[in-house]
Symmetry: D2
Subunit: 482 residues, 4 copies
């Protein structure tokens, strides 16, 4: 299969003569190729998208969302097919892939609802003077998305941005560009006019082109904190709006009064789901007081997990190596490996990139496994004496995506939720991803820019407000003498 750009409603090859391969993490096999894009590809997209947007913005919000009602039906009907594609390109297991499409459907619902609440406001602000505020699209916008959610993360922005009247450019991860091809295909079939949704394939040079072109007015990025910061700076240096989501190191604060089975199952699901390659994954467990029984249960849960069965692959050989090195390093530093995922293989898929579920106990806050984003199925346990001590560790980490607490106490739940320095907190939930209409977004170095990337913040981000103040001469023409 050749992955193509999507320009003005047509799939066309990138202009670079190079050919790049897309490798499936499941078995290390190549599954597709693509020609990277050049600046001329982007310019063509910008030209056609700009033209298409001029017309698109003259339609009403109520009309525009009709596309997404149809698109939602298509996602529902083709959910298994689309999930299989994700499995193949990303390596996650089927249920995880399916959850991406389910979230995409939910995001459709949010976009479809926009006409009911993203309306203007109006008030008589002084006698005979009426002020009104209404939303207008920004124009041409783009999203740069990561490899770990080939379908969900693009859907975070596509529908809201387009429903609100913009033309949209997607730059998929060059590691997982397949799902995006079907997004384009289905949107077109759902009735989206040509030019409103475009795809440009490529790597970091394409990212830079997007940052630099002033005709693209707003950009979202999702990826590592390092690149998020670069994109944030480069887009704003070109006077764009930008929202850039970065990495994470999420903490779970485990109180000894937690429901043991519920906690153990949730924590293991959180650390190992999507092979730990999600910015909402549990990374560090701050076990307060005597949590030995629960940790034992966690280890038992972890041992039930089998690579290739209920644990997918990590994205690449490099990723596998990086993760395993973290484990080895922690071991050298004196941490205790309760469950060891190194050297995992799956029969019949020996060339796939697998790491088993790994539990590292008795880590200290200064170890790399406790501080850095590993992005693999690895849980690092630090023992703490008090909730306050656990919170101090959580608060001092530079990221701020997620933090959960497991407890049966209303006080502890409330206290930790309030004090955690994270945008998304959970109580007895290991992956506290907000569902619509609540927005997705972290704090601190997990996000640069104002607002969340989904939910009601989207309305602010993807539009600009026109405020109109009107005064009529109240006497004019009231008495017709003619």
């Amino acid at each position: 299969m050749e992955i193509k750009n999507f320009i003005n409603g047509e799939f066309v090859s990138g202009r670079s003569s190079n050919i790049e391969a897309v490798i499936s993490p499941v078995d290390g096999e190549p599954i597709a190729t693509y020609h990277p894009s050049t600046i001329h590809d982007l310019e063509e997209i910008i030209a056609t998208a700009t033209e298409a947007q001029k017309k698109w913005q003259t339609t009403t919000l109520k009309e525009r969302v009709q596309v997404f009602y149809k698109y939602k039906s298509m996602l529902e009907k083709n959910i298994n097919f689309l999930s299989d594609i994700i499995v193949r390109e990303n390596g996650k297991i089927f249920s995880e892939a399916k959850a991406e499409i389910e979230k995409a459907i939910e995001l459709c619902e949010f976009a479809c609802a926009l006409p009911q609440f993203a309306h203007g406001e109006t008030e008589e602000v002084s006698a005979g003077v009426q002020c009104t505020s209404e939303r207008y699209p920004i124009g041409l916008v783009a999203s740069i998305v990561p490899f770990n959610f080939p379908s969900m993360v693009p859907h975070w922005t596509i529908m809201n941005a387009i429903a609100l009247g913009n033309a949209f450019i997607l730059k998929p991860s060059e590691k997982v560009p397949v799902s995006a091809q079907y997004i384009a295909k289905y949107l077109k079939e759902a009735g989206l006019p040509d030019g409103i949704f475009s795809i440009i394939n490529g790597g970091s040079d394409v990212v830079e082109m997007i940052c630099d072109d002033p005709k693209i007015k707003a950009v979202t990025f999702v990826g590592s904190t390092k690149i998020a910061a670069l994109v944030y700076k480069r887009c704003t240096a070109n006077l764009k709006q930008v929202l850039a989501l970065g990495g994470a190191k999420n903490h779970i604060i485990l109180s000894p009064d937690a429901h043991q089975e519920m906690a153990a199952a949730n924590i293991v699901a959180s650390m190992s789901g999507c092979a730990g390659q999600r910015c909402m994954a549990a990374a560090t467990l701050l076990a307060v007081g005597n949590c030995d029984q629960i940790i034992e249960k966690i280890v038992n849960e972890a041992k039930k997990i089998q690579c290739g069965n209920n644990l997918g692959a990590v994205i690449s050989k490099e990723a596998k190596n990086r993760i395993e090195n973290y484990i080895t390093e922690a071991e050298k530093q004196g941490a205790k490996i309760l469950s060891d995922g190194r050297n995992a293989t799956v029969t019949g898929k020996e060339q796939g990139f697998y790491v088993g579920p790994t539990i590292i106990d008795h880590a200290t806050p200064d170890m790399a496994v406790a501080r850095e984003e590993i992005f693999g199925p690895v849980l690092t346990i630090i023992r703490c004496k008090t909730i306050e001590e656990a919170l101090a560790i959580e608060n001092s980490n530079p990221y701020g995506n997620a933090c959960s607490v497991f407890t049966q106490s209303g006080s502890i739940a409330s206290y930790v939720s309030k004090k955690a320095s994270a945008g998304m907190c959970g109580v007895n939930i290991g992956v506290p991803v907000p569902r619509e209409p609540f927005g997705f977004g972290g704090w601190n170095q997990s996000k640069f820019g104002s607002g969340d990337i989904t939910g009601k913040s989207s309305i602010e981000f993807w539009t600009k407000a026109k405020k109109t103040t009107v005064k009529w001469n109240p006497e004019a023409g009231i008495n017709w003498m003619s």
Copy 2:
């Protein structure tokens, strides 16, 4: 075809041994029969609906609206079929019938959007004290609907009430009970659990039963002002919530600077659409200053309209007689009949109930045609010297559904919109029905009760708020010593 009650997911005949016929206004032919309901039918509905609602209210709003996404698709797919049914039972023309289904689809969209904005609110109201307000369903509710919109008016309430967690009883007009049968069928096919939507057929005795039973917590009614007042009083005498929409006598204020063709076409469409049988129809034209040219164009437009072609039947022989009597009486009182719709017939449908488009000029405000709701394709013109004089006439009428102004002047448009005593005003629009998310509802004797019947008022009407104030002991359990 036998029209049946819909109880617990099944169609069952009413318990009365009587058989009543449903007559098509198109040609006077019987098209269906039904057994009226007895109190035992209602009791069975109440019992099954109450039970079903207990479970329904434990589901989330997000889950509940999924039914209406499916239902919307079904309406879209079957729009022609459903429109034909409306034509047959009500007598309106196909495009008018289709507009009912289109509005039903739009009402679905509003209901589907509820999870995105009908959520709770929360705030820390004092140190450590969190107050939250969330919506709970009322329980068992009912709507009593009129003959003029067999499908649209039921849809005003069904989806919002059900989405918000209630069980719903529909009492269709005994003149047009057919469309409701398909609402029941499609809702079930869309996945609505049995017992959540019920139909009870019958006449005024069934209305009284609904008003009287205390287990039905809230009722909406749409019909004449006289019956609306009776239903309002009888429901509240039983301590229910009720919203009762009544009749109308809508005014159009015509300024001589109006765009002539646009005004004439719109005004005629407004007075003759649905054969004038809508509470939003133009009834009285207040022609300000010299509007002779526009009135000439209005008459020309009216004369283009042909019964049975672009003008449907009125609901019954009695209605036809009533309307014609109004015209005759006005003529006797000295008004001038510019276009006379009396004695209209349609070839091949000689037993149908038709009245042609009627324009009565030089009426005075005290004539019955200028004061009373005719509910037929009749426009009564009163000549006025000034906008103020026109507004005085409009303001003094006891109803308050709609009022439009035709003008090119921003001042006049703004002034009339502000001063009109009507819930729904139009500028250069003859039938100013608000589209979603804006609510439908008149003022004065056109509506009894607070709020509108659709739109965001629905959330207030169909739910009750639970306010929860929570305080946790902030010290409890923060320091684990064990």
Copy 3:
């Protein structure tokens, strides 16, 4: 002091030649007299208020709320003076009286904020067609208020109704009409135009006049369920809008894991505050499992309370007798009186109407003390085996104002809050009165009508929406050739 009506900005005596006395519950002394009103007083109010409202509604919401900024300052400056008046007329203790004024101040803040969020909404609903919804006042409205909160309950409605453009009539309780005199005085000093706020003094005949006059468009009532139902029916029989708040029998579900001191102190404060004369008072304690230690602490707390010191008087001799009879009856039926408030007296105020804090244990659900609203400082304890059993008792009571749970468990708190059949729930809070912007309102027989009496529901209740749909001919005048 003579209590007067307030009509068109002036204090004038009621037209009845009778003279009635106002008795202070503190010591049984007369503190004021008044002439009751006749229908002619009400007619004069209606005439002047109707006229004043016509002008008031032409001002903007932003202008109107300026009165309440000033009024808030005046309440703050005179809080001690106003609290003393409440103490004298109602019998409650100073801190309780002061809390009324503090709440009035908070209600001012809500009204002052209305221009920032009670604005209109607007959207382009189809190409070139703009729909807008804006709020208009209803006209002339009235509130009928009870004796237990002479200042707070009037303030629930006065400011919102007036800010939203209405003219307002207050019918104070004839037992406590003094505070209202100062409301009138201060509102006038704060700049409210004459005629916008009126007072009519009198008893049930004045209530009936208000219900009957069709020129009063909306009425709120706060009092017993019996009278609330009568007012609801009588107002609606006259086609008014009405919201009528009735009585209560509030339950506290006590879980044995509750924080003992916190629970005991809160529960006693809730049952004895305002001498139990509040519709939010704790009435029945549903003690689940082994709560003996907490109940012991409750009794100890109760014994610290002294009439005339930290417990005020009840409103009348009749009230005192009624309350004591309830206790005596329960004792006869076998309940155990752990703390006995009968025969309380306060030295120096022997003619005051006092009942001490009373704890009745081992009551059964069928006893009058467990079922009926006592409206005195009496807590009835029923022992339950499970939370479910406690909820079943709570759910089966006909009222639905408040229900609290005391527990340290997040699960129990969440479960009880969700399952309780009450509009206002508390967790570890004995008197869960929602603070602004959350509305006050119960469920079931504690409230008749839709929505809450304060908070955002006020906007819906005190206004009617005008929906305006506008279409301009887009070509007109774009090209000026002249």
Copy 4:
């Protein structure tokens, strides 16, 4: 008078040993001096503000806004005194100065209202799973403000940012630092805790320090587009949030059907108010068709204006020269000077910086006076044949603050409002500044960043959302067996 920094509740001199003078434009006299700040001043502010904010954020929004109720009263009481200060330091006339304080009062009202609508949201997103979103402050923030509104522009951000829980640093314009001193004084007297509001005086080096320090999390800037772009880039290079408002070149589209007197008076007021030194000033008049009569009236209106009487000074000698050069240049290029404001002087204030009202007719779109922001009382007229031609000129200008149309036609008003490329549009209003709750903000190069600087966008900008997802084990503890 020595202008000082305001640090931790105290006025202290800047650490630089230099002394700078503040010159009054009214008469060229020095009115104050100050020591510029060094990095050590900023570091001290950051340290104290950071500490103070930790405590401030633990208070509730309801508590925090109490400061601004008091502050509003103080502004009201001292409005004349504060206006005089503005006159002296900025040179505008008294009524214009007073309008700044009136707007500050209105901005207070918006901040005071925040607890009523800036609350959290909550919903049961799946069975037993509750998601809640609440606003948390960002921490330490700063605003850098321009010379043209010494009091109003600071108030755009101070109250909202502080009410929402942040600590705030103000960098006043070094040309007009006096008003800020009184802001500090009054806020402290109103009860604002020390450290929450700070002032740092100085020039561009202080701006750079603010941009660079990572402990300041969000910055707003108001000034020229050139500096706005620099600040936007420099703040984001340090990973901050920033909103930077720049310059403008506002167009008025004059339709020949406009009300002549109303248009003329408004347009002249718009171009000459605040001596044209406002980003909302009318700059270019696009006169469509035959507007000769209206232009004549404009010139007559302009000639009624007298420097020093109803026209204030411009900020500096340099500004005066720059403005006069623009006029001279336009004259050379062939434009016609209908009213010439060059060489204006005011008797007794010969050293003041005055420019009279200037009307330049028959300019062409390519002239500097038609393209560049003059920031003086100069109106440039371009004659156009059609509304479309006028809109094309407006649309092609790089700024996008304001655009007004003068017409009596509803069509033209609606068409121009919709098509203008500006954030703030007016109909028959020359200075269409939105009043609260509507936000202030332009489009294109008039603003960098997302959202508006006032109004509801403030909530998004000054806070970050914490989304909390909670799940309790519903069975836990329901049945107490002990």
